[in-house]
Symmetry: C2
Subunit: 338 residues, 2 copies
């Protein structure tokens, strides 16, 4: 391990000067800086993060907190996309990432303690139970945090625009001539609330009356519950002509149920998903869906988190809405040409 001291010996400048030169201090002459940087490169110097962190109380390390129960976090393409993009941008900005958990070794630790323990400069929070006191503790702590898809006071939130997403889907379905639109929604979260709001707003604006039995509750990422809801919808005396699913993956449950009823998509029944995962684009018929911009979500989260760390004094919490994109596939029948 080559240290700052080795460089100091090699080129005759003191360790203080070397340290300053490597940190681009204006205090040091240009020529000396050049010499020092050159020998550092030659000797293969790598700064000792531990020593640096000990001295500066910063780690260039960002925490990622997401729920890991049932392994649903990483395996959900939406979150894995967001986290991956977060990672790429964080690394570009010079930060590594560490997962925050509540048990490390045999110690039971709060999320906050773990973040302190690992000296995270900031933490991004996604896909968790936002009512969990441990999560709230972390958010209200002195550690900069950014949440994804949930709004907290005094904390920057990066939000996928679910209201517009649901609205755009309804409008698309409406334009294709449908008036009987059912909506199977996920469990009761702020995301779901926004989508429901968008759905009703669009329907109201378009003059569509939605009977209560067209609104069904299911769970995200769970084809079984969506399948059950689909069955109930198809068995209604006056079934819908189009069904909106909680997400692309859940639609698989609906697909099975529709096939079981000997119906075909989109000729007998139209459907749309949500998310725009890989799967949605390889199914036939191709699924019409609303693509969430996971790349932008992760990138913005990293960018704002770092900004809030660097400008800790002046930074003001913001809410960043990330637009998505309507992806029109072949799963909604155009009734206008009948």
């Amino acid at each position: 391990m080559v240290t700052i001291k080795d460089i100091s010996k090699r080129c005759g400048f003191s360790t203080s000067t070397v340290s300053k030169a490597l940190n681009n201090s204006l205090e040091i002459g240009q020529e000396t800086t050049a010499i020092i940087r050159k020998t550092a490169l030659e000797m293969g110097y790598l700064p000792n993060t531990a020593a640096r962190s000990l001295k500066t109380n910063r780690s260039n390390n960002l925490g990622v907190l997401f729920i890991d129960e049932m392994q649903s976090g990483l395996s959900h393409e939406y979150f894995s996309g967001v986290i991956n993009s977060f990672k790429v941008e964080a690394e570009r900005l010079g930060y590594d990432i560490t997962f925050i958990s509540h048990n490390i070794g045999n110690m039971q630790m709060s999320y906050y303690d773990h973040s302190v323990y690992r000296k995270c400069d900031g933490v991004v929070i996604a896909c968790v139970d936002f009512s969990d006191p441990a999560v709230v503790e972390l958010i209200h702590s002195e550690i900069p945090t950014v949440t994804i898809d949930h709004i907290f006071n005094d904390c920057t939130a990066i939000l996928s625009d679910n209201l517009t997403g649901a609205k755009d889907l309804v409008h698309h379905i409406y334009e294709y001539g449908h008036r009987k639109i059912a909506f199977i929604h996920g469990e009761n979260t702020s995301v779901t609330k926004r989508r429901l709001a968008g759905f009703h707003k669009a329907c109201d604006a378009l003059g569509i009356k939605v009977p209560d039995e067209y609104i069904k509750a299911a769970r995200y990422h769970d084809p079984r519950s969506s399948g059950l809801a689909t069955r109930e919808l198809l068995n209604l005396p006056d079934p819908p002509t189009c069904i909106m699913y909680p997400d692309d993956f859940s639609f698989i449950g609906g697909m099975n149920e529709i096939e079981k009823h000997s119906l075909t998509i989109p000729d007998d029944i139209s459907v749309v998903g949500y998310d725009g995962i890989y799967l949605s684009q390889v199914l036939r018929p191709k699924l019409s869906t609303f693509k969430q911009n996971t790349e932008a979500l992760g990138k913005e989260a990293a960018a704002h988190l770092v900004e809030s760390i660097v400008d800790k004094k002046t930074y003001l919490p913001k809410q960043i809405w990330i637009a998505g994109e309507l992806w029109i596939g072949d799963s909604v029948k155009n009734l206008n040409f009948e």
Copy 2:
């Protein structure tokens, strides 16, 4: 931040004694240890990882290296499963994990340099191009490493038993009366080689002659290439009665193609996948597949990596084969009852 010094002042023992007591040194009396641990708990003491790491040259941090191009790493359920399990076991053993990359900030860094920079006690390597010199450099360095699904000299490897997997699938298909079995395999990796070996071994043992045109090359996780291969197979003068796919997800491409030929699964054509991802179990008909034990893979990887770190002097590299499980769905027709 409460430090060891604060504890020292509070309970009258020197910092050396406090440090030793907190590290369970036998040098310190039981009573004193109890007192010190108690006050540490009361004061909410958390060890300063930076200081500790600086002194001991260990970080209690494990690196995870997997390729991130095309975001295919995290979004592939197989790898996300392995990594998640790795994370859980690593945390149980007192380690955090950090992703290893080759560009951090504006510095371009080798994987090895990044691992040194972050003071990783060890690194697990998965889902990368194992011929990449940067990967080889890391594996041959002094940093303990464990590879997943690839064998290197002098490096512990955790391997999903792909040979048995392919063999078991063939046997299952054979038992159901099929004699014309096609195999669409993924790109040329050691995993693919093992599966091909298993396939041919089983066919030989069962006395099945496999015509060359029944073996098709496609890509993993790519329904399009599997769809093309499927088309070619279905258009053969003497088409197979069962098709084996590179993985469950790729099968979607085959599914579309089969439907396009107005054939139904499994009545007209039988299929099996590989992996046992969530999707395979919610499709109808349920996909027969070979479930890879991602949980065991990740857990064993973490356990052996930590073991090789702790017993650095005496540890000998091993190869650990992880068995999978045949999951029989409804996608293979039983021809014995005709």
